[in-house]
């Protein structure tokens, strides 16, 4: 039996420590990992917990991230609770196997500590890796701070392993901004946390020798489409379980999560949609603008990036006049991912806000409260005149001549 750890009611953990502690409390059977900055302390923490007797599990050292995710796929198919962590270049190397994991419907929890992608090489946080994973068939949950990195990990196992989901889950947190920033974290006790997640319930496990199965079959045009459609349906439908797990989590902890988080949106005239720690910085900006300037600003943030909260976006932005979608990664040659997803959702809504796009914070560039305020005010400007007065895609915090793309078509 693994030893229990006595935790304080309030711990000061950074996002990595919080995630590692969640892996310990989940009693993950196998972590196959190839550590990379800034996610290293998560798997390092798991390894230390195993070595010190706090987990009955196996830390498998491998020779690359491709092998790390392959090890996770094997262990999950064998019938174990499996997790790992990665970032940036490591995530990119994992991508081929990410699709294998989701296609085989294997519940794996992957902590993605978001970091920019080379070239040029950069260790700091942006959402390049998160965006590269968005078609991989994984559920993607986003944590905005260390507490949420802990909470989302606990929820991730429960969602992923649910018999009606059986899909792998990524838990995202911002490299350094969340992963290396220590804040107050209120953990559950070991017993409470484990009871919340529950025992692992294997499905089609390869280690059941009475019931031999094949994983990773080949299908051509005769079967492939049906299998992918079934998988897509499972991911689309997983919102039911995500909502239920968030509800159970609220009952246990009082901390309420929703697939689409919204703040001060009841009467909001302008809004920012963002992901990651930026969400909280924008909330602070919106609060100050409401107090100091009477500007009715609100913030919207997908907690669940996949499945994308299409309906919830339409509802929450229904009466907003101008919205800025803040993308922490540049989708080269197109508008940002958040902009496109929101535009797609709002196109079928009765009322559409004026929607602009900001690319910000690439390679970890600071995003300040004052800049969030400026963006809110600019949205107010669009709302007042009834059209987008700037270019539709702009860049926040970029040096050099002003860069922007496309203008609103007006008759």
């Amino acid at each position: 039996m693994a030893e229990k750890m006595e935790l304080n009611e309030i711990e000061v953990w950074d996002g990595n420590q919080a995630a590692a502690q969640a892996l310990r409390q989940a009693q993950v059977d196998v972590v196959a990992a190839y550590p990379i900055t800034p996610s290293t302390p998560i798997v390092e923490g798991y390894g230390a917990f195993v070595a010190n007797g706090y987990i009955d599990g196996e830390f498998v050292m491998v020779e690359s991230e491709h092998a790390a995710m392959s090890g996770c796929v094997g262990a999950a198919a064998a019938g174990g609770r499996v997790a790992t962590a990665t970032s940036s270049q490591g995530f990119m190397l994992m991508i081929e196997v990410l699709y294998q994991a989701s296609g085989m419907r294997l519940p794996i929890v992957l902590n993605v500590v978001n970091r920019a992608i080379a070239s040029p090489l950069n260790v700091r946080g942006d959402h390049g890796d998160m965006y590269a994973g968005r078609d991989s068939g994984w559920i993607q949950l986003d944590a905005f701070n260390a507490q949420e990195a802990y909470d989302m990990n606990l929820c991730a196992f429960k969602i992923s392993e649910d018999i009606n989901v059986r899909l792998p889950v990524m838990v995202h947190q911002d490299g350094f901004t969340t992963s290396h920033t220590a804040q107050n974290v209120r953990p559950l006790s070991d017993d409470e946390a484990y009871a919340f997640i529950g025992d692992y319930k294997p499905v089609d496990e390869m280690l059941d020798f009475s019931k031999a199965v094949t994983y990773g079959a080949q299908t051509e045009e005769d079967w492939h489409f049906e299998h992918k459609a079934k998988q897509h349906r499972a991911l689309m439908d997983s919102y039911v379980v995500i909502d239920r797990v968030f509800e159970e989590f609220e009952k246990k902890t009082g901390r309420k999560y929703r697939r689409l988080e919204s703040y001060m949106m009841d009467d909001a005239e302008v809004a920012i949609v963002a992901l990651g720690a930026t969400v909280e910085t924008c909330i602070l900006a919106a609060k100050e603008l409401r107090e100091q300037e009477g500007l009715k600003a609100g913030v919207v943030a997908p907690r669940s990036i996949r499945p994308f909260p299409f309906n919830e976006i339409r509802e929450v932005l229904a009466n907003v006049k101008a919205v800025a979608a803040l993308d922490h990664s540049v989708s080269m040659g197109a508008m940002g991912m958040l902009y496109n997803e929101i535009a797609g959702a709002m196109l079928s809504a009765q009322e559409r806000p004026l929607l602009t796009n900001f690319i910000y914070g690439l390679g970890g560039r600071d995003f300040a409260v004052d800049e969030a305020k400026r963006i809110f005010r600019e949205q107010k400007g669009h709302a007042d005149v009834g059209y987008i007065t700037t270019e539709i895609q702009q860049f926040s915090g970029l040096r050099g001549p002003k860069l922007g793309f496309y203008e609103m078509k007006r008759s």
């Binding site: 304080n8 309030i10 711990e11 000061v12 950074d14 900055t37 260790v123 701070n145 911002d174 350094f176 901004t177 969340t178 290396h180 920033t181 220590a182 804040q183 107050n184 720690a277 930026t278 909280e280 910085t281 909330i283 602070l284 600071d366 995003f367 300040a368 409260v369």
Partner: protein, 187 residues
Amino acid sequence: MIEIRWHSRAGQGAVTGAKGLGNVVARTGKEVQAFALYGSAKRGAAMRAYNRIDDDPIINHEKYMNPDYVLVIDPALAFTDNITEHEKDSTKYIITSHMDKSELIAQIPALQDKKDRVFVVDCIGISMDTIGRAIPNTPMLGALMKISGMFELDFFLDSMKRVLAKFPQKIIDANMEAITRAYNEVK
């Protein structure tokens, strides 16, 4: 909200110091934040660590800061780093140096007009005497307690003992002595 900026070299313990301070403060019911800014740093590279302390949960994640306290734990950085960057009229400076206060201020033009807000303590010397290594982070926390009046010395020592609980008793004792000396010696 109290904001603190540490100027340090990678390896001197600014991150540990900032997290240790966060740990102690969190035990009093306050909300804390501790983070650092460094590149792909080697030991010895100049770096900065930060603390935010507030009664409400801290949701500001910008790196920009107008610090209430600037803690310089490497003597040379007082000369080479821009320690007064983004300062307020009330920003207080605690600087590690073997020099006395007037001697130090005389050599740093940026501090000329803020003599009342500059405090000096020899954290390196104290840590060499007590811990036996140049780890100026814990003595700096002792000096900060004195200058800020954040906590009584005894309460702080008690809390730090718990933060350092995983270390051997000898090291804990040496750190307690270092904190106490810096608390008493900062001027």
